[in-house]
Amino acid sequence: MWSKLDITEQRIIQRAKSGDRDAFAELVDLYKDKVYHVSYRMLGNQQEAEDVAQETFLRVYANLDNYDPQYKFSTWIYRIASNLSIDILRKRKKNLSIDAEITGAEGVDWHDRLADTSKGPEEEVLIDELQEEVQDAIMGLNPKYRAVMLLRYIEDLSLQEISEVVQLPISTIKTRIHRGREALRKKLRFM
């Protein structure tokens, strides 16, 4: 089942485990974009996404000895990142519960991001609007559904892999994906 890439990765992990900091830096480089991206889509906020991504790697470092090579490294890393994101969303909900009704949505501040793509100004605006709508729709999902949908459609994980990440049976993952798809469809159908 192991691909050549996985074997290279396992070697880097071994080196990192034995205390090689350069090897750990390689692991960070390999996974930082994925971790950051999934956290960003979970939270809709750059600063929090970076905090979660950084905390994810600090936890990976502290717990390297407990990593079981039987599982994919990515599975473990996604688990940490999505759990941290859900924690932040829970805290945010508590803090916002007083004024949430006024602002209407969580993570509204994602609108002013994402401007520095290398597209022309008009095209950029169009893409931005579409992306904004999609991100808003995702932010409207319950975090449990949101995490599963992002892992499935942004990180391209299989149902089996998602079930390993969130440590729930595949049947539960399927239900969440079905409901997640239907919820997003209702919000995006007129686009």
Binding site: V28, D33, Y36, L58, Y61, M191
Partner: protein
């Protein structure tokens, strides 16, 4: 087919779990039902929208910031942590090391000297000059005979083991030895022999 069942089929299809037959059913239904057709297209469009979200990259300098935030030295697992994890293994290896150690010293202690142990010494003859213990024909020894730095010649009966350490065992055709015959030439073998004896006696007790 009811539309509700068909929606379930759509999701199976989108999860790549629908078989050929189900796919045919789905297509057949969609061809006749406008609502389901729209529903299916909307679902596919939704997925495409989510997939089209641009992949944001981690900000500049991210790796450096993570590395700077790491604790200074990686915590090494101490020897005692390992011991705590495998107490049985440690106990077993400690046992073997101590056993081996005591037997080795026993071994070096007794080197070069001709000696033997046997029950009923009246039934064995000892040739001191040739370092030889003899069980004469017609005589019976009940028990083990162990000779160190010498040889054993068995013409009679031994109801037990015959062991020569740094020596040889000669068994005549008339000999009857009910136990094992062993010649031990090295310290390691000596240790092994003793360990075996311990384990055998443990197993038999």
């Amino acid at each position: 087919m009811r539309c509700q069942d068909n929606v379930r089929l759509m999701h199976r299809y989108l999860d790549e779990e629908a078989n050929k037959e189900e796919e045919m059913q789905l297509r057949a239904h969609i061809a006749t039902c406008q609502d389901c057709k729209r529903h299916f297209q909307e679902l596919k469009k939704t997925i495409a929208f989510v997939q089209s979200l641009s992949h944001t990259k981690a900000p500049e300098g991210f790796t450096e910031r993570v590395m700077a935030a790491l604790p200074k030295e990686k915590r090494k697992i101490s020897f005692f942590d390992r011991i705590k994890r495998h107490p049985l293994l440690v106990a077993a290896s400690l046992f073997i090391v101590l056993m081996a150690g005591s037997m080795m010293s026993f071994w070096t202690e007794g080197q070069q000297r001709f000696e033997f142990s046997a029950p009923q010494t009246q039934n064995v003859k000892v040739d001191e000059e040739h370092h030889m213990v003899i069980v004469p024909a017609g005589k019976t020894v009940q028990g083990d005979i162990v000779v160190r730095n010498g040889n054993i010649k068995v013409d009679g009966d031994v109801r037990g083991n015959v062991v020569a350490i740094d020596g040889e065992v000669y068994a005549a055709s008339t000999a009857h030895i009910s136990g094992e015959v062993q010649e031990i030439h090295q310290a390691v073998e000596w240790v092994w022999y003793n360990l075996k004896k311990v384990f055998n006696s443990l197993a038999n007790s």
